[in-house]
Assembly symmetry: C2
């Protein structure tokens, strides 16, 4: 490609609404252009990256026996009503009516349509397994679109759907996709991590997220550096190790006037935060024969730990809960918020202690009286053992790995892929069955597998940038090599050598752009550093007379002189690294 | 590709709503699957064809210096309001509201968005010319979607938009696109014709449609077999050649009771239809200072000719007209419909004669009296020369070619491409300007260029099918060659030769599918004839023992025996034809 025949449009400054670095750099590098809230035109430079990402995904999907088709964007409401997602998805689902008043969804994903295709196509177990995928535009009407391609409304996703005759088959299909995803993200040249994820309400027995590692990532990833264990924060289990120490202090009701947070209580009392226990009061309402009854739960968490909502929802009886109101707090605990505690409540309360709390001794907790906390509280002595002991908290770095192979570390990531064992949730609601070996109808076992194609661009940049701009991994860079001739219009020698090298690199199958725009060197270099092309060759008359071209990798701090005769091989060597 | 790893799903019968052969065959061959009215899933077999079509388009667009980007599907209403198309497009424009009540169009085309992109990116004439294109899903809420991919609601289109500094530049860009389209349709392997088209109300100075030739085509194409002249029916000019003959008959008011059509009048009087003149009465209303005034026009057309609405609209004073009502007819002509004529009207009427009619003598026309016609009518003698002589009719085969190089022929076609000189219509309404050489702002000169990607499939089939199924041109066939082994599971020899040939064809870069499904020969052959793969090789044990494989082209009536050693070269030879 010659730059003069391409469209290059760079900006000195990013627009003010670009909050994160990938959004800023993509705008500045002219890769995307905002059309509306969360809606972007993919400009020529950005589209090249998208196409490279798609090509790698497509290649690995095909190699994994997944079959490409293309499902429509505009999908009849009836299918979405069959699974209940027409209402369940709420405002995120973009709904549209045609001229006859018929309703449609603009697809945010395609479980319904593929299940509809398959239920009419698949009759027999002999036709299974099958895995269909497409790479298609999606729309999700996010409440607050932001971060450019990271949380847009219109975006491109690769979504695949596997169909199997039984659980073992579904798990085998899942494994094939997991391995394909691992190859895909490896080929992108990105540092990534696959982590076990919570399955959510949808059921099924397994789910993994693929994250691109980046300091700026929204998600905390938990992993064990000395084993294979990896999970997202929702799913990572916090073990309790060691024994509860014997009581060493007396229970004392201590004045803590106006001190409602564990941090300030610990500071006031001169104790470690890890000696305090915080209390979360929940109410569960159940209706029976038109009468609503309430049950009260008190969750106990160590002062320095964070509550994990997903884990709370899994505690028996707590699937549907809400926070206890202030009126209820007075009635049940006789206390205002900030001073609640498990010792002495006015009404019966189910005490659910986090595993860590259940193992504490001599701890500090609220006294159910304004401006008072207990210190030196001990299970069994000052209050009964907790009714329920459960894993309620987010893990922290240094926790024991659940596989017993070391301690946990935490890093941040950006979710770019998700593989999911769906089981029969969709096939049952949509009556997608096949005839098994005995001629009996059975529901299809499904898996689904997504990659956020356009999000990959944002994630790749969040992982790879510097103060000059983007640093693309070569596999997904808009161009692999840029040629920057110095005064091509003035020097016949420069022109000749540049054209020779351009032709030679093209012949070698290198994706090269020749910057023939006639810019000054400073502006030209700044453009390509901003755009993030990984390899640059400067062709100048002085260098040529000394028998040298100047090669510089995007991460290099200095250029390397390379003889014109060696440059193609040299670049290939750099690209192979 | 191995058939066992692909998805093949053929049907004996087409669904009853498939009215035309391409729709029937695409459904039967498992290329598309209906999701809703005018909305189809492109199944794996169909998607392969689409991808090949797209690849050829993309290659020729890129070679023509057009630059690919990707504009969003969901486009803010504000842009469409700027050009007035938000209302002008009526119900065909699919409108959608987001969660905040903001309105969007699902793109049916992207003039507004590309003009918005360009007006913010282009500052100077130095950045011109530019031509951007994308290949993107479109949605048009057709009143009556039908014919499968031929008139669907959701479809794929390639749309390109050129931007130039002046008219000459725009015409040069147009020529480049015209030539690219010619190469594209040639590469598809389809018989096609580019015809001059009417520009419509949008202005600009040129427009051509590209049609795939097919007996079943909706459009009539006019061309001159002995010259380059070609136009669609709307645009083809009907010349009048020769002189008006001298009157030979007397004017006679002849009773024609209950005979209102030219056909029946001619039959009653024992005359040729070409001796009759039909009358179309139009009314034009104009409002001035709140008062509506009416003008009456009488259009005269030879009895065997068809009125061309587009041409009528171009007659001075007739841009906005309606048919004259029966009440008006009585008032102006004193006649009921069916007996109107240009001789003797009650009120002043502007007589607009088609060129052919102006040249007639001794013609038959209505007498403005129920149940009477005149015969032997002659211009100048029985009535004044017409006020206006204009081209009002559709051309017919045998008419003189407007270029004077022969006579016209007519064939039928399916419109699959359109190139259009837009001029400044969009750039003016959207204030898309650039600074010219003198530093003065000037509106961009635009062109737009569309190809109906998915429609190509339907058109290709309408042109190429037989009673067994589709006959794809090799360039866009889902596979170029199919290998049909006979009893691959029983014969080691067949298996070995098949695998060898499969590998050899792949190595030669041939897009080959190996049918390893283990079907019986009849079913297997029927599948591939229906799907329309252009080249087939049957590998059987008997043939192999005689040193032969059976090659058969999709249009061949008999197979040809070819030695295994020669088969790759033989196929390549067939493909090169």
């Amino acid at each position: 490609m010659r730059a003069s025949r391409f469209f290059i449009s760079t900006l000195k400054d990013a627009p003010s609404d670009a909050e994160i670095v990938s959004h800023q750099l993509m705008m500045r590098a002219g890769m995307i252009k905002r059309l509306g809230s969360g809606i972007y035109t993919y400009m020529p430079m950005g589209l090249r990256v998208i196409r490279k990402v798609e090509a790698i995904i497509r290649d690995e999907m095909n190699k994994s026996s997944a079959i490409e088709l293309l499902m429509p964007l505009v999908q009849p409401a009836e299918l979405w009503q069959e699974t209940g997602r027409w209402t369940k998805m709420g405002d995120e689902l973009m709904r549209v009516k045609d001229r006859h008043g018929r309703e449609y969804a603009i697809q945010p994903t395609s479980e319904e349509v593929i299940t509809d295709v398959v239920r009419s196509e698949i009759k027999s177990y002999r036709q299974l397994p099958l895995n269909f995928y497409h790479i298609q535009t999606k729309f999700r009407d996010e409440r607050r679109p932001r971060f450019g391609l990271m949380r847009g409304r219109e975006f491109t996703m690769k979504d695949a759907y596997s169909f199997d005759r039984d659980l073992a088959g579904m798990q085998a299909s899942y494994k094939i996709m997991f391995d394909a995803y691992t190859r895909i993200f490896t080929r992108f040249g990105l540092k990534f991590r696959a982590v076990a994820a919570d399955n959510g309400a949808i059921g099924g027995s397994g789910s993994h997220e693929f994250h691109v590692i980046a300091h700026t990532g929204e998600d905390a990833l938990v992993y064990c550096p000395t084993s294979d264990y990896a999970a997202n924060m929702e799913a990572a289990e916090a073990l309790q190790t060691g024994e509860r120490a014997a009581p060493a202090q007396e229970l004392v009701k201590t004045p803590t006037p106006g001190t409602v947070k564990c941090e300030t209580v610990a500071a006031l009392l001169g104790l470690e935060l890890s000696q305090t226990v915080k209390t979360i009061a929940l109410t569960v309402e159940t209706e029976k024969d038109g009468k609503v009854s309430k049950a009260y739960f008190m969750l106990l968490l160590r002062g320095d730990h964070e509550l994990n909502e997903i884990k709370v929802g899994k505690v028996p009886g707590l699937a549907n809960h809400r926070f206890t109101t202030e009126a209820e707090l007075l009635e049940v605990y006789g206390s205002i918020p900030g001073f609640l505690g498990p010792i002495g409540t006015l009404q019966p309360v189910t005490v659910v202690a986090d595993r860590t709390v259940a193992n504490m001794s001599d701890f500090v907790c609220g006294a159910n009286a304004a401006d008072f906390h207990y210190t030196g509280a001990n299970w069994g002595r000052d209050l009964p053992e907790p009714h329920i002991v459960a894993d309620l908290r987010n893990v922290v770095a240094g926790d024991a790995s659940p596989d017993g192979q070391g301690v946990l570390a935490i890093e941040r990531g950006i979710e770019v892929g998700h593989v999911f064992q769906l089981g029969t949730a969709y096939s049952e609601s949509m009556k997608a069955t096949f005839l098994d070996e005995n001629g009996k109808p059975a529901p299809l076992q499904m898996g689904c597998y997504g990659i956020g194609v356009t999000r990959i661009l944002g994630a790749a940049i969040e992982q790879n940038f510097d103060d000059k701009g983007i640093i693309w991994p070569a596999a997904i860079a808009p161009f692999e090599v840029v040629l920057c001739p110095m005064g091509m219009d003035r020097s016949e020698l420069v022109k000749e050598e540049t054209e020779k090298l351009y032709a030679a690199l093209q012949a070698a199958g290198v994706d090269v752009i020749l910057d023939d725009r006639g810019q000054r060197p400073g502006a030209m270099f700044a453009d390509w550093e901003l755009i993030g092309v990984p390899h640059r060759v400067v062709i100048g008359e002085r260098g040529l007379k000394e028998g040298k071209l100047e090669y510089q990798g995007r991460r290099d701090t200095e250029a390397t002189g390379v003889a014109p005769a060696d440059i193609v091989a040299f670049i290939q060597g750099q690209m192979a690294q």
